[in-house]
Point group: C2
Chain length 110, copies 2
């Protein structure tokens, strides 16, 4: 199974969710997502998502120097981002419920 396709439409929300806990920068977010179970997530995917979310106004960003490497570009949720997270969460809930229902309706390989 290719969870790549499953990820679509969820990565945005996952990034927003992770950032709602606390601000973070790209490299850090990748780590956090992987620790959360999205093990296969590619770094380029996350950076791309961050750019998209930022451009759509869901995120703010500010750069801070680091003591162990190049500067870090931190991202945080805007109110619009928080709302988007909320909506994504609702969508996810409805969608996952629907899909679950379809699988439950299927008789097969227990």
């Amino acid at each position: 199974m290719d969870s790549t396709q499953l990820l679509k439409g969820v990565l945005d929300a996952a990034v927003l969710a992770v950032l709602s806990e606390r601000d973070g920068y790209g490299y850090d977010i990748v780590r956090r997502l992987r620790e959360a179970g999205l093990e296969g997530v590619g770094d380029a995917s996350v950076y791309g998502t961050l750019r998209r979310l930022f451009q759509s106004g869901a995120l703010t960003s500010y750069v801070l120097p680091s003591d162990e490497g190049p500067h870090r570009k931190y991202y945080g949720l805007t109110p619009a981002g928080a709302q988007q997270l909320s909506e994504a969460r609702d969508s996810w809930k409805a969608f996952s419920h629907t899909v679950q229902g379809i699988f439950d309706g299927a008789r097969s390989a227990a």
Copy 2:
């Protein structure tokens, strides 16, 4: 929210699930999926999915005449298809659990 993206990676499994109940033809499957809650699913998406699944060996197909319209191309699961459904179901379970965990970890716009 665009459930289009969420659908990716799930439509295959949804079609397999619906067919595990009983064989069906394209037009019918579209209706069944919509009734199951996937309201926005496009017919072309389903036909494309059926073709793909058939070519990958997950489905068999046979044509029957209809008394109220053109012929119908019925599809049914092969053993490989049943197994793919089973795997997809497992993937879904793990994935949805992970995503749920990420949303639960987020504090936000309750």
